[in-house]
Amino acid sequence: MSILLSSQSRVLVQGLTGREGTFHAEQMKAYGTNLVAGVSPGKGGSTHLGVPIFDTVADAKRETGADVSGIFVPAPFAADAIMEAAAAGIELIVCITEGIPLYDMVRARAFVEDAGVKLIGPNCPGLVTAGQAKVGIIPNHINHEGPVGIVSRSGTLTYEVIQGLSQAGVGQTTSVGIGGDPILGLSFQDVLRLFKEDPATHVVVMIGEIGGSDEEAAAESVIGRDFGKPVVGFISGRTAPPGKRMGHAGAIISGNTGTASSKVQALKRAGAEICDTIEEVVAAAGAAVDQPSSAAHR
């Protein structure tokens, strides 16, 4: 079991014939992902990485039954690519692209919401269901099957946690990088709700960071309400000064909102175990998996 993505998912890549698209789609295939199509307008009819290329997502969907799309197109075109996938009936859209204008994203997000489909990202590393499939750029070799679900705003810290857990012999169900932008598709809340319902996930690791109030919202409306599974949390940016944008467009403390301490407090109040380092996160998640209570929590 897993959430969002499985070996059954039929994956297409928008921007497959580009440099990044080609590189990462190769990795995705190598991981075992069921890559069924690519979309590159004007290259319809050709073949790349052994899959057919289509001019439009609608064509690709119709011909191959794709239900998941990974987007690797440049920022000026990425919001449109998201909407194209949503309009074509793709169920899960994973947008890796960084630097999408925010006004493009508010429109694309409203569009996706109207279409009733799921978007992960943008500016995210994508997701992996360990041992089954990957859409995005999370390194293949670090993932191991097991009982921990991961949701994170940071790409590289996601890798840290996955690798740490795997090295400690603790595997994962699905690892989801939701992205570091202020306007995102799935939020912590959304992914946590999915983990709550997933019987294979016994423990959830949540990696937040400064900026916005999504961690607080997740704490109050999901974790604090009969979540039923141990949550191990971590917030990066504790030493970041207010008013400075820390790389991620979304990572900024403005006024009293978005501070690490506000997030840590909200998560602790909701019953999550908050750690100071990734090493501690790994240890705590491993311990929670080993406790018999973790299963009872379900």
Binding site: E20, I100, P125, G155, T156, E160, G180, T239, H248
Partner: protein
């Protein structure tokens, strides 16, 4: 990208938002000329930051002589790190009431938000906290924009019904302007009600989404280079850099990872000198450029590079590090932590170049803090 007050007002005027008449002055004589033409003027320091009034950067001048003196006092001042190079001299307004009108992005709502308040002239976030009832908000649908009835409703909710006729077009125009410029923030504050019953933008702010700059290549905003020479240099190098107060230079890939690296350095008793994210998929040249930037900072007593390759490849980063250490003759300790995509190739290259990498982030942070404290100078010693 931020804009100076006068640059914002030029755009307001072009969009049909009333602004006071004004002239830009780069020296006291130009200020005197402006006052001669305009009468009583307010002389205002042009810096891309708030709090000019309190810092003495805004003065009323009734005569050209006054204006010359005021400009003389203000030009050359330093306000929060910015040197005043220009003053904006504009007709003094007889203001009977100060309102606020702004547009920004509400990340919790995932939508733009228009904010209107009968309490203008002060920081709107302060008003939001002290008198939340004095603020009316409208979240326009991002496709439809603010509809007429919604704008009218906003105005009545702000208790500004009697100004409806004047405010309706202003709200619509400000929104259109904000959308045209991909504004993260655009505001009129104060929006002044003058003695003759008109509304005029007495001050304005505009900050554009950097991600959208490809749509605005012809725009030139405020010169923000005064803010920090290192940040300005980083911007020229297209690096994501934030200056911090410590002594450990930090480079990493990915915002979360770099933020966490700062936290680890702090935890080990050190203090980071910067946040520097080389981003995803960085090439060797970018790593080289980042190292070069930190090497130019005399505060930096040690450099920690933390890489977890995803879209970024270890071998590319290793090449950049090796080339940079050779070219730059680095005289502070360097610790590299590398894992992820092509980590084997990268680590091998580093070892061959005499820069054996660390595998763990905490251990790497501990080591750089120790080395920097010890004042060790050769990077090779970092192993």
């Amino acid at each position: 990208m931020k804009f100076l007050e006068y640059q914002v007002k030029e755009r307001f005027r072009a969009a049909g938002i009333p602004v006071p008449d004004g002239r830009l002055a780069r020296n006291p004589d130009e200020a005197a000329l402006a006052a001669g033409a305009l009468g009583s003027v307010v002389v205002k320091a042009q810096v891309p930051i708030g709090g000019r009034g309190k810092a003495g950067g805004i003065k009323l001048a009734r005569t050209p002589v006054d204006a010359k003196r005021a400009a003389g006092e203000i030009l050359g001042m330093t306000i929060k790190g910015y040197t005043v190079r220009e003053v904006w001299c504009e007709t003094a307004q007889e203001i009977v009431r100060e309102l606020y009108l702004g547009l920004t992005l509400d990340r919790d709502a995932r939508k733009p938000v228009l904010i209107l308040s009968a309490q203008g002239g002060m920081d709107i976030e302060e008003v939001a906290q002290t008198r939340p009832d004095a603020i009316a908000k409208l979240h326009p649908d991002p496709w439809r924009g603010p509809l007429t009835f919604q704008v009218r409703d906003l105005i009545f909710r702000a208790g500004l019904g009697p100004l409806q006729a004047q405010l309706m077009p202003l709200v619509t125009k400000l929104y259109a302007l904000g959308r045209t410029y991909d504004a993260l923030t655009i505001e009129i504050n104060p929006l002044a009600l003058t003695r003759d019953g008109g509304l005029v933008a007495a001050d304005g702010k505009l900050e554009i989404d950097e991600n959208a700059m490809f749509r605005h290549k012809d725009l030139h905003g405020a010169d923000e280079s005064d803010e920090d020479p290192l940040e300005a240099e980083a911007k020229r190098r297209k690096l994501t850099y934030v200056r911090l107060d410590g002594s450990i230079g930090v480079i990493g890939n990915g915002a979360g990872l770099v933020m966490n690296t700062l936290d680890l350095v702090e935890r080990e008793g050190g203090h980071a000198a910067d946040f520097l994210d080389i981003g995803g998929g960085a090439k060797a040249e970018v790593v080289h450029s980042a190292l070069e930037l930190l090497a130019s900072d005399p505060r930096v007593k040690g450099i920690l590079i933390n890489i977890f390759g995803g879209i970024t490849r270890g071998d590319e980063v290793a090449h950049g590090i090796i080339d940079a250490t050779r070219d730059l003759n680095l005289n502070v300790p360097l610790v590299v932590r590398m894992t992820g995509t092509r980590e084997e190739e990268g680590r091998q290259l580093l070892r061959e170049a005499g820069i054996p990498p660390e595998a763990g982030a905490s251990a790497a942070a501990r080591k750089i803090v120790e080395l920097a404290a010890a004042g060790t100078t050769r990077p090779a010693a970092a192993s």
